[in-house]
């Protein structure tokens, strides 16, 4: 049986602010968007006051004052740096991990411990992060990522768990699913939720009681995978269920890892292309960009290094060429002299805004309309001729860094080149 842990920072932006303002530890805190326009993050106390995400500041200024709510402008540099600290600490606890967003990471703890030992392992992990960085985290542990996500919901909701909740047997699984609203299940979208409501499915348990055939008929492949994961069958990869608030694309590299700047550049350019594609498919632009690369923490015999840098874009963008430019500039600035074998690298784009509501910058020199037209044309060509038919030269051809996927089977069902051959 697998053991996954999702480690999730509690109210991340508000918690970052509280590290440097400890007296606010039990006070309502809200964070404002760029130019202090509207509310983009809240502490649990602020949520309890009924302050909604996205509320314009001017509408509730009096209410905030009356309720003694601490108000902060967003400080992305700080959040990026605190994220670096938390993620770096978490990555020491397992050789296999996936950063899911700026404030969430999945760890594969299979074989590291089980039962009560696993629980203590995670408790000590939580203490290390919370004491060391000042950021409280909640950990959900289970045999599948979907169940781990469910466990973390309970860990956040009920104080008795002290931030670590584990679903590791049938009794706990059934109890949890019966208490879990189906709309709170990881991967169940709002659209799906409407449908579930129509069929009278209220809890995650109700969902699992439907037959596989029925689920297959009524839902997508992801719906079926979610159904399986809730039964304890491990089948969802982290990048299959992207977070809406941020997009993280990362990979582990094969064998020893990569040592050359040019190799990491090539890999990161491809990740950037992927992020850009995902951004455009959901009609968003990102304001913040985080670039990271780690050596293996589990090898004492080679020198260790890590890169984790967040930058703020002058104007939100989803353009591949523009984002690639920023990523390369950041990577080259952070690149460390000496020989390090990077085992993992990735890109996170975050602070998304809809692409039709971009606040332009007076000093912006990019012709945004022309840029969008070019991106649209390239997308159309690639749709017709295959992903990356037109790509940036720096993306490379041989994808030697991609070897980690060598055990991956072909895209039998989604790519014409990969379908099975029959005689």
């Amino acid at each position: 049986m697998k053991s996954y842990a999702i480690c999730d920072c509690d109210n991340f932006f508000a918690s970052c602010e509280r590290v440097f303002a400890p007296s606010l530890h039990d006070k309502p805190v809200v964070i404002l968007s760029n130019n202090d326009g509207c509310i983009i993050a809240r502490s649990s106390e602020a949520k309890a006051l009924g302050i909604a995400m996205g509320t314009p500041l001017y509408q509730i200024k009096d209410f905030l004052e009356k309720n003694d709510v601490a108000v902060f402008s967003s400080n992305y540099t700080l959040y990026g740096d605190m994220s670096r600290r938390v993620m770096s600490l978490l990555s020491k606890y397992s050789p296999v991990f996936w950063q899911y967003s700026i404030d969430e990471m999945f760890l594969d703890l299979t074989g590291i411990a089980s039962g009560n030992d696993l629980l203590s392992y995670c408790k000590s992990l939580r203490k290390t992060v919370t004491q060391g960085t000042g950021i409280p985290i909640t950990i959900g542990i289970a045999p599948t990522k979907t169940l781990a996500k469910a466990a973390s919901k309970f860990g956040k909701k009920y104080k008795g768990f002290k931030g670590v909740c584990m679903i590791d047997d049938e009794t706990k699984r059934i109890k949890a699913l019966k208490m879990l609203n189906v709309s709170d299940v990881w991967g169940i979208g709002r659209r799906t939720n409407k449908k579930l409501d129509y069929f009278g499915i209220k809890t995650a348990w109700d969902f699992t009681q439907k037959s596989e055939k029925w689920i297959q008929k009524e839902f997508t492949v992801t719906g079926l995978k979610t159904w399986k994961e809730l039964q304890g069958v491990d089948c969802i990869n982290v990048d299959e269920l992207p977070e809406k608030k941020s997009i993280c694309t990362s990979r582990s590299f094969a064998d020893q890892g990569l040592a050359d700047l040019s190799q990491i550049e090539e890999a990161l350019t491809n990740f950037t292309a992927e992020c850009s594609r995902k951004l455009r498919s959901q009609h968003s632009c990102c304001k913040m960009l985080t670039v990271f690369a780690y050596t293996s923490r589990f090898r004492d015999d080679v020198p260790q290094a890590s890169i984790y840098k967040t930058i703020e874009l002058p104007v939100p963008s989803n353009d591949r060429q523009e984002l690639t430019g920023y990523v390369m500039k950041t990577l080259r600035a952070e690149w460390k002299a000496g020989t390090y074998l990077y085992k993992k690298a990735g890109i996170i784009v975050w602070e998304m805004t809809p692409d039709n509501a971009i606040q332009s910058d007076l000093l912006d020199t990019v012709d945004r309309d022309k840029q969008a037209a070019l991106a649209k044309t390239i997308d159309a060509i690639n749709l017709k001729n295959g992903q990356d038919a037109v790509h940036l030269a720096i993306q490379g051809h041989d994808k030697s860094w991609f070897l980690k996927c060598e055990h991956k089977s072909k895209q039998f069902t989604t790519n014409l080149k990969d379908i099975i051959h029959v005689k």
Partner: protein
Amino acid sequence: MDLLLFSADTSSETSLLLADEGVHAGFPSPAQDYMCNAIDLNKELIRHPETTFYARCVGDSMKDIGIDNGDLLIIDKSIEPQDGDIVVAYIDGNFTLKRIKMEHDGKSLWLMPENDEYKPIKVTEENSFIVWGVVTHNIKTQFRRQ
């Protein structure tokens, strides 16, 4: 004594060349040949980069042990504070730099200044109090010419 806190950027490496034979206060040695190792102060002074923060010392309540106004403090939040440690504490809405003193009965806790002009602070149940981090080094600037 007030403190200004900073988040530490420990990602950079500023390698300085180390003359292996030490510094001679006499004739210069043909040093180039001996410059073989490099020192990175981030590595020397910071054991836990993820949990290390900087603060600037403002005031003179710790001057008797050589921590002065303007010193740069290196703070590690991961260290479990013990009796006698110099800590950045947060008490009743303010950050303060003091030495921690625990009574033998294990019940009372004092924040001790290192300057006779200041009084020790007894920490009681009524105080809102946390030890924010343990000070590992203070860095003092000696060269003050502009």
